[in-house]
């Protein structure tokens, strides 16, 4: 029944068969060649790329986080500034309002004074005008009266004028004394 086995007697198993040795070496070198030259560098590259992608992703997330934090800080700062600004503007408005009110008040006062002063001036001018007109009128009337009473014409202007002046000075003295 052992005919399927090598017919010669059992050899020393520790003596390697030369053909097997060569076949083994060739087979190994083919495995080594394909794996070492082609497949393992390829997969190592892919593994490195994957590592990169994962680490890159983490890095990007980190970056985004930092950026978000920065933006938040920025917003907070802006908000604080805006609040500060608003307070400042309110304060300023209040001050301005107060200033405007004061100014307006002053202006009103000034205008009132001006109006009053103008009124005084006008009154004074009117009074003068009236005084002049009255003086002439009163003089003429007095002369007329005197002429009628005396019966003589006092048409001599020089005399007339002197009489009027004297009369008026008396009137003014009376007025001064009455004041």
């Amino acid at each position: 029944m052992m005919t399927f086995l090598a017919e010669e007697g059992a050899q020393n198993p520790l003596i390697p068969d030369t053909v097997e040795l060569v076949v083994g070496l060739i087979a190994f070198f083919i495995v080594f060649g394909v794996l070492g030259k082609k497949l393992l560098p390829t997969i190592q590259k892919t593994l490195d790329e994957r590592q990169d992608a994962i680490e890159g992703g983490l890095e990007r997330a980190q970056e985004a986080q930092t950026e978000a934090n920065q933006t938040l800080e920025q917003y907070k700062a802006q908000l604080a500034e805006a609040r500060h600004e608003a307070a400042r503007i309110t304060e300023q408005a209040r001050e301005q309002g107060a200033a405007i009110i004061a100014e307006m008040r002053e202006e009103g006062q000034r205008q009132r004074d001006a109006i009053i002063a103008a009124g005084h001036t006008q009154t004074e001018a009117d009074r003068r005008q009236v005084t002049v007109a009255l003086r002439q009128e009163v003089g003429r009337m007095a002369t007329d009266l005197a002429g009628r009473v005396v019966g003589e014409s006092l048409e001599d202007s020089a005399r007339q004028s002197r009489v009027i002046d004297r009369f008026l000075e008396e009137l003014e003295e009376k007025a001064e004394a009455a004041r």
Binding site: D17, E20, F28
Partner: protein
Amino acid sequence: MSALTLLANTDCHINAGCAFPAPGLHSFQYKPIFSVGGIEFTKPMLLAVICMVIVVGFFWAAFNKPKLVPGKLQLVGEIGYNFIAKSIATEVIGKKGKQYIPFLMSIFFFVWLMNIMSIIPLAQFPATSRFAFPVALALLVFVTYMFLTFKTHGLKGGVKNLVWIEGLPKPLVPLIILLEFIQNVITRPFTLAVRLWANMFAGHMLIVMFSAAAWYLVTPSFLSVVAGGSLLLAIGMTAFEVLIQFLQAYIFTLLAAIYISGALEEAH
């Protein structure tokens, strides 16, 4: 065809006046499948070539067009790659181990597959139980070991790295030089080859033994119980062999890495 297959085709049982076809060294010798110019091509060689084709084919399919997000096959291949790269190359040799990954990986998967052939139906023979295959690989490891030793340390430093141990008492020096030389230059490559060969040889022998005995004892008698026990043992041994096959391939590769590491490290 293996001894087992043929045994099953015969009617050699204990009650048929047939002597027990005990497995022996002849169980490891095959008639040539074909012969070219006096060079005989046998089943173990065929198995070695098939293993080569499977290793190359598998990793070609897994790694030829690698994707950043791996498919199933690529993932399995990557697990194998990382196993060699991390738990052997980097772990034993360190950072310099990276460039030896292809060598170690080729050794591991080629040896492992040749071992596995022991339990694959129809193959049922570990190519590594033919001494020439472990010798071929151990020879390569040894050549690499020597080459790296002398390349790293120069001629004088290389010799010193192989035989010298610092700080010995003077009278011991010649003895230690002799022992170190024997260990590093003779024992290491020899045991590397023999360890793998002997394990696979013995494992195959045991499986054949129990299988043959089971078939031989199957008779219409109480001996069938013994045959059943023998069959169970054969099955148990087969399961055990799965572990041994992996372990021996791992040890072979690990020792190759340790020798490379020894060649690369600073003189002690």
